[in-house]
C-alpha cells in the first residue's frame, strides 16, 4: 500500500514538471506584460514643471518592479506588513499612485551581489534596482540593458536632488554616467565617510593619566600602556586591525568606510596606498608603490612583532568583534565607527568613552585621503516604460525630501530603491548647528525649513537636548542618554565622531586621480590587487621581510601596473 502511494506521489510530481515545461512557451514574454499596466499615457495631466512635476501624482496607478536588498535580521516591520506592503510602499501608493512590486529580495552583502550578477547575466532586469558596485552598473550599461535617463532626470528630479548633485561639482553625474549618457541615479554620501580618524578609549587614558596620543610614536606608547595594564582583560589587544574580509587601507575603488584599517597611520607618514596620485608634473603614480608606504609598512610590521596589533589581523571573522567585546582601546575608522559602528561596546561597558582624534605626522600635520562621491547606483531597465522611469525619479525625490519625516520605528531600509543622497558636508553642518542648539544659541524650530538641503537636521535638532545632557564643554559617553539607543548612536557619531573633521583643519587632502576602473584594469586589476593584498599583509605579519616590498613593486609594474599607470595619466590630461 505504502509503495503504491509513493508511486502515485512521484507520478504526480512528474506530471507537474511536464506541464510546467509545456506551458513555458506561451508565457515567456511575461516580463513585458507585467510592466505594461501603466502603458496608457498618464502625462495627460496639465503641463507641470519644476517641483510640481517632481512630486506629481500619477492619474492611474503605475507598477514599478524592483529587486531589493533586505536586512534578514530586521524586526521592525509590524505584523502583517511585508517587503511589498509597508508604510513606505503605502506612502508611495497614496501620494503618487506608485505600486511597488518586489520581484525578488536578497540579504545585504554577497547574497545580494550574487542575485544582481545573475539578473544582469540573464539580461532581464527588473524596472529598478540599486547596485552597490560600479562594475555592475558599467557591465549592464555596456550590455545595453540600461535606460538613458538624462532627459527624464532633467524634467523630473526635484530641486533638492539637483542641488545635492550640484554640490559635488559634477563628479556625481560623471560617476553615474556611462560613455557620456546618464544611466543611473548615483548615491551621494558625506565627505567625512572617507576621512579616517583614531578612535580611542578616553576613560582608559584617564585611568593611566596619559595624554591623547598625537603621533605614531605616541600611539605606540599608548597601545603598549593599554596592554601592559590589561585594561581590556587578560587578552587585551593593543590596536584592532582588519578582518579576513576587510583591508589595511581604503582604495580608489572602495574609498570610504574602512573600519579598523590603518589609514591614519599611512596618512601620518604622508603615504596614500591604494590611491592614484597626481605627482604635479603631469605624471601619476600608484600610492602603494611609494617609499612612504614602505616606511609605514615597516612601522606596522614592527608593531605586529611587538604584539601591539591584533594577533589575528587578516584572519579574523569580524573586525568589530574585539572592539565590541572591549578587548581593545584603539582602532581607526570614519566618523560613524564610534556610535553606529560599535553599539555593543557601550552595551557591554556603559563607561566606554570612545573619542575620535586625528593622527598627526611628526611635524604636526593632519593628512588624509578623500573619497569619491558615492558608489551605489539605482539602475533602470532599458525596457521600463517612461512612466516607470518617472515613477522611480519621483520615489527618489520623495525619499530625499521626506526621509526625516518618516516614522523610523520601521527601518528606512524598507523604502523601495532607497539610495542615499546627502549633501557632501551634511555631517559637519549638523555638528556645528547641533552644538549651537545644545548651547542655547539656536532653537530646533529654526531648522524647520521645508526642502532643506540638510534633510535630517530638523529631526536631529528636536532630539538632541533629550539625548545629550550638560555640561557641553567636553562631551563624553556620560553626557549621553542611551534610552533610545538608535538616537544615541546617531548623535554620538555626529557629535563625537565628526568633531575632528568639523573642527580641525586638514593640512593635506589627497584625492585619487580616478575612482573608477580603466579598460586594462577590467582584465588585469584582479591579479594586481591580489598580489598587493597578499604582499601588504604578509609584510605586516612578518611573513615576508620588508625588503620584499621592492620586488613587489617591480612585479606590479611589469605585470600590468605600468600599462595601467599610463592609462590613468591619460585621464589626468583631460
Amino acid at each position: 500500500m505504502k509503495r503504491n502511494l509513493a508511486l502515485l506521489l512521484s507520478a504526480a510530481l512528474l506530471g507537474v514538471s511536464l506541464t510546467a515545461c509545456s506551458s513555458s512557451n506561451d508565457s515567456s514574454n511575461n516580463n513585458v506584460k507585467a510592466s505594461s499596466s501603466p502603458d496608457s499615457d498618464s502625462s495627460a495631466s496639465p503641463a507641470l514643471s519644476g517641483d510640481d512635476l517632481a512630486f506629481s501624482k500619477f492619474p492611474k496607478p503605475v507598477d514599478v518592479h524592483i529587486g531589493m536588498v533586505v536586512d534578514p535580521t530586521d524586526k521592525t516591520l509590524p505584523e502583517g506588513d511585508s517587503v511589498s506592503n509597508n508604510q513606505y510602499t503605502r506612502y508611495l501608493k497614496d501620494n503618487y499612485n506608485i505600486n511597488v512590486i518586489v520581484d525578488w529580495t536578497a540579504a545585504t552583502g554577497n547574497d545580494f551581489k550574487q542575485k544582481v550578477s545573475l539578473t544582469i547575466a540573464s539580461g532581464k532586469l527588473p524596472d529598478g534596482m540599486v547596485v552597490d558596485d560600479r562594475s555592475f552598473m558599467t557591465k549592464a550599461a555596456s550590455s545595453g540593458l540600461l535606460y538613458d535617463i538624462g532627459d527624464l532626470f532633467d524634467q523630473y528630479a526635484s530641486k533638492q536632488v539637483k542641488d545635492i548633485m550640484a554640490s559635488t561639482e559634477g563628479r556625481a553625474l560623471e560617476n553615474a554616467s556611462y560613455k557620456g549618457k546618464m544611466v543611473s541615479l548615483p548615491n551621494i554620501t558625506v565627505d567625512t565617510d572617507g576621512v579616517h580618524v583614531m578612535w580611542i578609549r578616553k576613560d582608559w587614558l584617564d585611568k593611566l593619566s596619559l595624554p591623547v596620543p598625537k603621533t605614531i610614536a605616541d600611539l605606540e606608547k599608548t597601545a603598549k600602556a593599554f596592554m601592559d595594564n590589561k585594561l581590556g582583560g587578560d587578552k587585551t589587544i593593543g590596536i584592532a586591525g582588519p578582518s579576513k574580509n576587510t583591508f589595511p587601507y581604503s582604495t580608489f575603488l572602495v574609498s570610504s568606510n574602512n573600519m579598523a584599517g590603518f589609514d591614519p597611520i599611512f596618512g601620518a607618514n604622508d603615504a596614500y596606498p591604494g590611491y592614484w596620485l597626481d605627482n604635479g608634473d603631469g605624471t601619476v603614480s600608484y600610492g602603494t608603490t611609494s617609499e612612504n608606504t614602505k616606511k609605514t609598512l615597516a612601522v606596522l610590521a614592527d608593531w605586529y612583532k611587538k604584539g601591539l596589533i591584533d594577533p589575528e589581523v587578516g584572519t579574523r571573522d569580524n573586525t568589530g568583534d574585539p572592539i565590541n567585546a572591549n578587548q581593545t582601546g584603539i582602532f581607526f575608522g570614519p566618523w560613524w565607527n564610534g556610535g553606529y559602528g560599535n553599539g555593543d561596546s557601550f552595551k557591554n561597558d556603559p563607561t566606554a568613552n570612545w573619542q575620535a582624534y586625528p593622527v598627526y605626522s611628526d611635524d604636526g600635520k593632519w593628512n588624509t585621503h578623500m573619497k569619491t562621491t558615492g558608489s551605489t547606483y539605482t539602475i533602470i531597465s532599458k525596457n521600463a516604460k517612461p512612466d516607470v522611469v518617472k515613477a522611480i525619479m519621483i520615489m527618489n525625490n520623495a525619499l530625499v525630501r521626506d526621509e526625516a519625516t518618516f516614522d523610523l520605528s520601521v527601518a528606512v531600509g524598507w523604502y523601495p530603491l532607497r539610495n542615499v543622497m546627502a549633501a557632501a558636508n551634511e555631517t559637519e553642518y549638523e555638528y556645528t548647528e547641533l552644538t549651537k542648539v545644545l548651547k542655547g544659541e539656536a532653537e530646533p524650530e529654526d531648522y524647520n525649513v521645508p526642502n532643506s538641503l540638510y534633510k535630517l537636521m530638523y529631526a536631529d535638532a528636536k532630539k538632541v537636548r533629550d539625548v545629550v545632557k550638560p555640561p557641553y564643554d567636553e562631551l563624553g559617553v556620560s553626557n549621553f542618554s542611551t534610552a533610545n539607543f538608535g538616537d544615541f548612536q546617531r548623535l554620538y557619531s555626529l557629535l563625537i565622531g565628526d568633531r575632528p573633521f568639523a573642527t580641525t583643519p586638514i593640512d593635506k587632502k589627497v584625492y585619487s586621480v580616478t575612482y573608477n576602473q580603466t579598460p586594462t584594469m577590467e582584465t588585469k586589476w584582479a591579479n594586481l590587487k591580489k598580489m598587493e593584498d597578499e604582499t601588504v599583509l604578509k609584510i605586516i605579519l612578518g611573513q615576508q621581510p620588508i625588503d620584499s616590498f621592492d620586488k613587489f613593486v617591480k612585479d606590479w609594474k611589469s605585470q600590468g601596473g605600468d600599462e595601467i599607470t599610463a592609462e590613468v595619466a591619460e585621464l589626468l590630461k583631460k
Binding site: 547575466a121 591580489k530 597578499e534
Partner: protein, 296 residues
Amino acid sequence: MRKLGHQKHYYLMLLPGMVWLVMFSIVPMFGILMAFQNFNPGMGLFKSEWVGLENFKYMFQLNDSKTVIVNTFIIAIGKIVMNLIVPLVFAILLNELRSLRYKRLVQTVVYLPHFLSWVIMSTIVIGIFGYYGVVNTVIGYFGVDPKLFMADSSIFRQLIIGTDVWKEFGYNAIIYLAALTGVNPNLYEAAAIDGANRWQLVRNVTLPALTTTVVLLGVLSLGNVLNAGFDQVYNLYNPLVYSTGDILDTWVYRLGLQNLQFSLATAAGLFKSVISFALIYISYRLAYRYADYTIF
C-alpha cells in the same frame, strides 16, 4: 527471445529520469557556448560575438591560472587519497572493537560533523586554530609560542585537507562498514582456527572484503581531481594564503562576481568538465582491461 520484448519496459523505466536529464541538465548545457563567446547579456546566447578559443587562451595567460590549477590539483588529490584511506583505517579499527555497545556509540557519533555545512564549520575551525584557540592553548603547555595557523600559507593546504577529512571520515566510513557487515563471520573463524593472528585476519579477511569498494570509490572520485571544495576554501581562506590556498573555483568566483566575466567563468568550468570526463573514461577503460571490472 522473450527478453528482448522487455526492452520497451526498460525504456519506460528510464523515461522519468531521462526526461529530467533533458530538462534540467541537457537543455542548460547550451550555456557552454558562452565559453566561445564574448557573452553580452543584452544580446543573449545566440547573438553574442563569437571569439573561438580566446577565453581559453586568456585564461592560461593569466599568471594566476598556473598557481590556481596547481593548488587545485594538490588539494583535491590530497583529499581524494586521504578520504579513501582514513575512513578505511577507521572502519577497520571500529570493526576490531569488542564491545558492541561502544562500537555502536562511536559509529553514531562520528558522522556528526558531516551534517554541519562549511559555513558553520569554518567559524568553528577558525575558532579552534585561532590565536587564543584550543590548539594554541594546548601547544602552549609544551612551551610552544602561539601561532596564527590560518595565516600560514605553508600549512594551509594541509589544514584544508585535514579538516575536510576530519569532517567526512565518519560519513565516508559508512560504505566500508556496510561492506564489512556483509563478510561471512565463518571466514574469521576458519582463519582463526588456522592460527591466524589479528593482523593476519585483517589482512587476509577484512581488507580483501573492502578492496572492490575502495577501487570503486577511488575511480568514481577521479572525476573530482579538479574539485578542491569551494565552500570550504571560500569560508576559510584570506589574502595571506592565496599563494597556496586559492583554487580554480574560488578564483573563478572572484573573477565572475567582481568583474562579471561570464565567458571566462564558463570556459574555466568547461575546462574542468573535460578533464574530469577524460579521467573517468580512462579509469573506466583501465579497470575494464586490467581487472575485467566494469564500474558502471
